[in-house]
């Protein structure tokens, strides 16, 4: 590789005294002393998160309290670090949500593996998994950070539903147009 030799200019007399630089630095210091501090006192103070922030993935319920996930396993398929593991299950025929037929028996996300890419949220056909605002996780063991279904629902809570897809389906089944 070719070497480029740079010519270093000699310091002027003023520079040799270092005084202009010190004065310049003090100016900045004094200015900052009278400004509002921008440092955030984390963890006492929490930052304001922008729209579309990708925190940890969580499972959500619809306004009727129905778990939205139908265990289609698309998130498990798309997940680049393979953090998601689902055991599909059948909703019993006598349950109020029996028309949905399928729900996860077990759903776990390994938060140590998760890279917060948001692909699970993007791929979900039921809008059941969302990366919400929680971002700071800690635990005493690895097992503790493999979140199970109940924990994921607790973190996810309920989100408004605009489609009511399954409610419509149930209503249609109750009043089918007969021939």
């Amino acid at each position: 590789m070719a070497t480029k030799v740079l010519e270093r200019k000699p310091l002027t007399w003023a520079e040799k005294t270092y005084l202009p630089q010190i004065v310049h630095g003090l100016k900045i210091t004094w200015k900052a002393m009278f400004k509002k501090p921008i440092t955030l006192q984390y963890p006492e103070e929490k930052p304001e998160l922008p729209m579309g922030y990708r925190g940890i993935p969580t499972l959500v319920k619809d306004p009727n309290g129905r778990e939205k996930c139908v265990s289609c396993q698309l998130c498990e398929f798309i997940c680049p670090p393979k953090a998601i593991r689902i055991t599909p299950g059948e909703i019993p025929a006598d349950a109020s949500t029996a028309h949905v037929e399928k729900a996860p028996k077990a759903f776990e996300i390994n938060m140590l593996r998760c890279i917060y890419c948001g692909l699970c949220q993007e791929v979900c056909p039921e809008e059941a998994i969302f990366l919400q605002n929680a971002f700071s996780l800690s635990g005493y063991s690895r097992q503790e950070l493999v979140f199970q279904k109940d924990k994921l629902y607790e973190l996810g809570g309920t989100l408004p539903d605009t489609h009511h897809k399954w409610d419509k389906k149930k209503a249609a089944a109750a009043h089918p147009h007969h021939h």
Binding site: C72, F77, P88, E101
Partner: protein
């Protein structure tokens, strides 16, 4: 359906490409020969043609002939003029004849496909996220390949029953059904139990069983396989796992000596389902329901998972040492081999018996045959035992000769491979009289009496080959790992043999064993394990034709009638 083997060849032209096919060949099958896909739902090569899905629309034309003279009419360029039909026609209802011209990718054909797809999806519930067929659904595939990609349907969709139990193993989702009638035709034509049919009209048509009947046939799950959509699902596999996670492994069904070709679907060492694998020489596209349930035995509670000496779990080396002690102490050994072993295992078992010679017994397992894909012999490889010389004659159901020898003290050590000796007529007193080394996959009454239990692997957990009733050598591959720490059967037997003779143990390989088998055994001459075709290799077994095999007539199997010479009959 029809036999095309003896049909004369005719020349047809598909999308300008000329090809020679047997006369009468279905146009869909002919197009597939040159890699052209004609999308279809109701057409199935092994079922009759109904032409009710209308998906396989193509344009048809024939070489024009002068009606008066029969002369081919030529155009200006001197080529035969093609008379194209003004309207499209269904490919599945068209058979190859000389001079047939087919267009599969014109704008008209594409418009037809788009239209048919739109109609099929009108009342489709689009519940792919919960549908088991997703990933292997032709409705999904053709909707992306040939559909228009969006829906114009704003009206309310039909609501139909989602969970109709057609039979103990088959569930129907009426909303997903596209009324292709494959299942109906299968029941009528293949299973021979015509229980399904459509009721109601138009978009209210639903599939149902005839009143008072159910889809209980032992071949009912084939309807699930051939269902092009998710309307019929298996109650066993339902909602268990999405198919795109499953690894497919070619295997052979161990249910009977038919040797049905199967695909084992597994994920991370767990088997989820077994489906038939196409083999036109053995099982066509079909398989019995009972054979599909065999995977459940892998996780059965009575599975043997570790070596045991007198009921106490021991490490494998200790168990092998114990086996050597038993062999050294015993002067008179007898062996009970099995038709459940693969050819390679039978060969190595035979090698093992050379160390300390003794009588080798086999056990014949007889079951009720159904004349289709379940034969009377419930072992997959009884003929392998004949081939490698484990038994000279067909094994017996009862081992009374062995019982007598035990009573006489002529046998002091029994090496049993996966057989329950109680079923062969031996008594508890007899088993108590001898030492028993039991090699097997599952606990049974004999293993309870065994001094030493060496667990072996099931066919899903190892590779090898079986010889079926047609003397067809077929290979199966390992689908899932066996229980932790267990050796494949061939390694276990070689381990035992090498210890007994004081040689260093070298793990045997299938290709190594086949190198010896093809060299030493005239029946296997020229057979290379890695070159055995997927559809199996038929062996020349004239030398064994005189045995009175149990198997009766089945699919692709006609028992050879043994003619007993009159002289023998008279005596």
């Amino acid at each position: 359906m029809s036999d095309l083997k003896n049909a004369p060849l005719v020349t047809i032209t598909i999308d300008g490409q000329e090809l020679q096919v047997p006369a009468g060949m279905n146009v869909i099958a002919a197009a597939a020969l040159i890699g052209k896909e004609i999308p279809h739902y109701c057409y199935h090569p092994r079922l009759s043609i109904v032409g009710n899905c209308r998906m396989c629309m193509v344009e048809l034309g024939m070489v024009m002939k002068d009606r008066a003279t029969g002369q081919v009419i030529l155009d200006e360029a001197g080529k035969p003029k093609i008379g194209w039909a003004p309207k499209p026609a269904i490919g599945c209802g068209t058979q190859a004849v000389n001079g047939l011209h087919v267009k599969t990718d014109t704008q008209l054909v594409k418009d037809c496909q788009k239209g048919v797809m739109e109609f099929l999806l009108v009342n489709h519930p689009l519940d792919c996220p919960i549908c088991d067929q997703a990933g292997e659904c032709t409705l999904q595939e053709f909707a992306t390949d040939y559909g228009q990609g969006y829906s114009r349907f704003v009206e309310e969709k039909n609501v139909k029953p989602k969970r109709t139990q057609l039979g103990p193993r088959v569930m129907l989702d009426d909303e997903r059904c596209i009324l292709c009638a494959r299942c109906i035709r299968f029941c009528k034509e293949i299973a021979g139990e015509d229980v399904l049919g459509f009721v109601d009209r138009g978009s209210y048509s639903t599939l149902t069983c005839y009143p008072g009947k159910a889809l209980t046939n032992n071949y009912s799950l084939n309807t699930v396989d051939i269902c092009p959509v998710g309307a019929l699902t298996s109650t066993d596999f339902r909602f268990k796992m999405r198919v795109w996670f499953l690894k497919k492994t070619d295997s052979i069904c161990t249910e009977s000596s038919v040797g049905v070709n199967t695909t084992v679907w597994s994920r991370e060492g767990q088997i989820y389902r077994i489906t038939p694998r196409e083999n036109g020489e053995v099982n066509d596209s079909w398989m019995a329901d009972s054979g599909r349930a065999l995977y459940e035995k892998v996780e059965a509670p009575e599975r043997l998972k570790c070596p045991k000496i007198n009921g106490n779990t021991v490490p494998l080396p200790e168990a092998i040492d114990r086996a050597c002690e038993l062999f050294d102490a015993a002067q008179k050994v007898a062996y009970v081999a099995s038709g459940h072993m693969s050819v390679e295992e039978q060969f190595l078992f035979k090698e093992l018996t050379h160390v300390q010679p003794g009588d080798i017994y086999g056990v014949m397992h007889v079951q009720e045959a159904d004349g289709f894909l379940i034969s009377a012999d419930s072992t997959p490889n009884m003929r392998g035992g004949l081939a490698v010389g484990l038994w000279e004659d067909l094994p017996q159901k009862q081992l009374s000769a062995l019982g007598d020898k035990i009573d006489n003290g002529a046998v002091t050590l029994l090496v049993v491979y996966n057989e329950d000796l109680f079923e062969t007529g031996l008594t508890e007193a007899q088993l108590r009289k001898v030492e028993i080394i039991y090699l097997g996959t599952h606990r049974n009454r004999t293993s309870e009496y065994a001094d030493l239990v060496l667990p072996t692997l099931m066919a899903f957990e190892k590779s090898g080959s079986f010889i079926n009733q047609q003397w067809r050598l077929q290979t199966f591959a390992q689908a899932v790992p066996g229980p932790t720490g267990l050796l494949p059967d061939i390694c276990l037997m070689e381990h035992l043999r090498s210890h007994l003779v004081g040689e260093a143990y070298v793990a045997p390989t299938l290709t190594g064993i086949w190198g010896r088998l093809s060299h030493e055994n005239a029946l296997f001459k020229g057979v290379l394990f890695n070159k055995i075709p997927k559809t199996g290799q038929l062996l020349e077994a004239e030398a064994f034709a005189h045995h009175a095999f149990l198997e009766g007539k089945g699919l692709h199997y006609e028992p050879k009638v043994t003619i007993i010479p009159e002289a023998v009959q008279a005596s």
